[in-house]
């Protein structure tokens, strides 16, 4: 490995990878709502222009066979989607006039069920 967190064609996004590539929805949402709108905008403006390239790079590869760099890139793209409403709609990190986030649980798809214990279902969640 070359020590890079993202696949080589995305070197320009490398500074964002360690902080913004988060593997679960609850974590991505927490990152969004605990960030300033300025840092969200900086991330958004850096990643949005790369989104089509990211999709073109990842789309031909089998989802369940991603290596760790590819998975980080996918999670970075998901983070862009998470951040998008803050920039495109609200102009603030969290939803205005909304139910308190501390009381609103975001859970994996099979939380509290036996299906959630099986590895193949966890893969669905990751993708």
């Amino acid at each position: 490995m070359n020590g890079q967190l993202l696949p080589q064609p995305f070197n320009a996004l490398e500074p964002f990878a360690s902080e913004w590539s988060i593997g679960d929805e609850a974590g991505r949402n927490l990152k969004r709502i605990s960030s300033t709108i300025e840092s969200l905008r900086e991330f958004y403006q850096a990643v949005l222009p790369e989104m089509q390239l990211i999709v073109d790079y990842l789309r031909p590869r089998p989802l369940l066979e991603f290596n760790s760099q590819q998975l980080r890139l996918l999670n970075l793209a998901k983070m862009l989607m998470e951040v998008a409403p803050a920039i495109e709609i609200f102009n603030q990190p969290d939803v205005p006039n909304s139910f308190e986030p501390e009381r609103f649980l975001i859970m994996p798809p099979f939380a509290d069920t036996p299906a959630g214990l099986y590895a193949d279902q966890t893969l669905i969640e990751q993708t």
Binding site: N29, R59, M81, S98, F99, G116
Partner: protein, 401 residues
């Protein structure tokens, strides 16, 4: 005062009347106890889907406050899904918690052990008991049936209707929807300080959309059209259940929202795909064949929703805890992503709805506080809130009947 002209849903469902409604059922603890006994302990209640329990021995424990019960939902070694009270026949201890996979359940207190089909399999030091007939001391079961992969239980040992009879016309309307092709994308949950019916009301009319969702979905409404308030395009009542169809602004293009637009370009997504407005609708949806149909609200009485759209559906559970407290649960299902483009698109779909749901839940606690203040005795409903009216009519008939 507006003119008392005929309004479409009041004409279609004249039995529901048009007068104001008493708020007693939303604020009275006595009424809540009647709902427990006359509704929840006698109705078919959804507790999940068969995919939650994929393998023999898979079980999940659910504490259901309104039934004052902890239940074990389990797929037995014979593949049948059953529901049992989580109560040892020896001295009443609970025998299971959480979820997992097990050949059986063993009580921590004295070791009585039951198979995953509910039979009492082993009693330690059995010789010390008196005429113990293990064949008659299996776990106490509840009625449990499945429909289209949805698992329902009924606490009434002798329900007046089978599940399919109970679902009636709502089951007919949804029977061709491809539930089995979709997988859950995430699960959301909140304990909400409001009456269960007050929360349901926030999810069964479109009148609020232009206000509560003015930022997230305001552009779905077209102020210049002949439908500036996103009126329901049709409503159906099926006994205690109900279904309403919501249209959208066909001119909606996610202007100045490039990430949202990208999600539509990458996959059949939340609301539309480029040029997809006139596409064939998913079976089991859009029963009145509305050209600009968005999604159907389907309320399975008393506390379960199966809202369907093109290529996705979601469920709500509204589990009453107290007259002014409810456990709200949501699961969103889509066709599993085939590639990274679809995965990224679906991520936007699920979080866009999630943000919108936080707007919905924000109103209901304030509503409950207003109702509990005693300042008003009744509420006033428009023709667009026919589903709200139907809910209170059904509940009142069962509670007073």
């Amino acid at each position: 005062m507006n003119a008392p002209d005929a309004k479409p849903f009041n004409t279609q469902f004249s039995q529901l009347g048009s007068g104001p409604l008493s708020i007693e059922s939303m604020t009275s603890s006595e009424y809540f106890e009647l709902e427990r006994e006359k509704i929840f302990k006698k109705s078919w209640l959804n507790v999940g889907r068969i995919e939650d329990l994929p393998k023999p021995g898979d079980y999940m424990v659910q504490s259901i406050a309104i039934l004052q019960s902890s239940l074990i939902i389990v797929r037995g070694d014979d593949q049948q899904i059953r529901a049992f009270h989580n109560v040892c026949r020896h001295r009443g201890n609970e025998i299971a918690s959480g979820c997992g996979n097990a050949k059986g359940f063993s009580c921590d207190f004295h070791g009585w052990t039951y198979s995953n089909q509910g039979e009492l399999a082993f009693v330690p030091d059995e010789g010390q008991f008196f005429n113990l007939d293990k064949n008659k001391l299996g776990l106490v079961s509840l009625q449990c049936e499945t429909w289209k992969g949805f698992i329902f239980i009924n606490a009434d040992p002798d329900p007046s209707q089978s599940l399919i009879e109970y679902l009636g016309g709502l089951g007919d309307q949804l029977k061709d929807f491809p539930f089995e092709q979709m997988v859950p994308m995430h699960r959301l949950e909140a304990e909400v300080n409001a009456n269960w019916k007050v929360i349901i009301d926030a999810f069964q009319e479109s009148y609020h959309a232009g206000f509560v969702h003015r930022l997230t979905a305001g552009d779905m409404l077209d102020p210049d059209s002949d439908d500036p308030y996103m009126h329901l395009s049709s409503v159906r009542l099926f006994g205690p259940h109900r279904s309403a169809s919501v249209p959208m602004n066909p001119e909606y293009v996610a202007q100045n929202r490039p990430a949202e637009m990208l999600s539509y370009q990458l996959a059949s997504s939340l609301w539309l795909q480029e040029g997809a407005m006139e596409q064939q609708f998913t079976p089991g949806t859009n029963p009145d064949d509305h050209k600009h149909w968005l999604f159907d609200i389907n309320v399975c009485f008393p506390n379960f929703f199966i809202d369907v759209a093109n290529g996705w559906f979601f469920t709500y559970h509204f589990w009453p805890v107290a007259v002014d407290k409810t456990l709200w649960q949501y699961r969103f299902y889509m066709i599993p992503p085939a590639d990274a483009g679809e995965a990224i698109s679906r991520e936007y779909s699920k979080l866009a709805l999630r943000d919108l749901l936080r707007e919905d839940l924000n109103t209901v606690e304030a509503t409950q506080r207003g109702l509990m203040s005693g300042a008003i005795k009744e509420i006033h409903l428009s023709d667009q809130e026919v589903a709200v009216r139907h809910q209170y009519k059904v509940v009142e008939e069962l509670v007073r009947g």
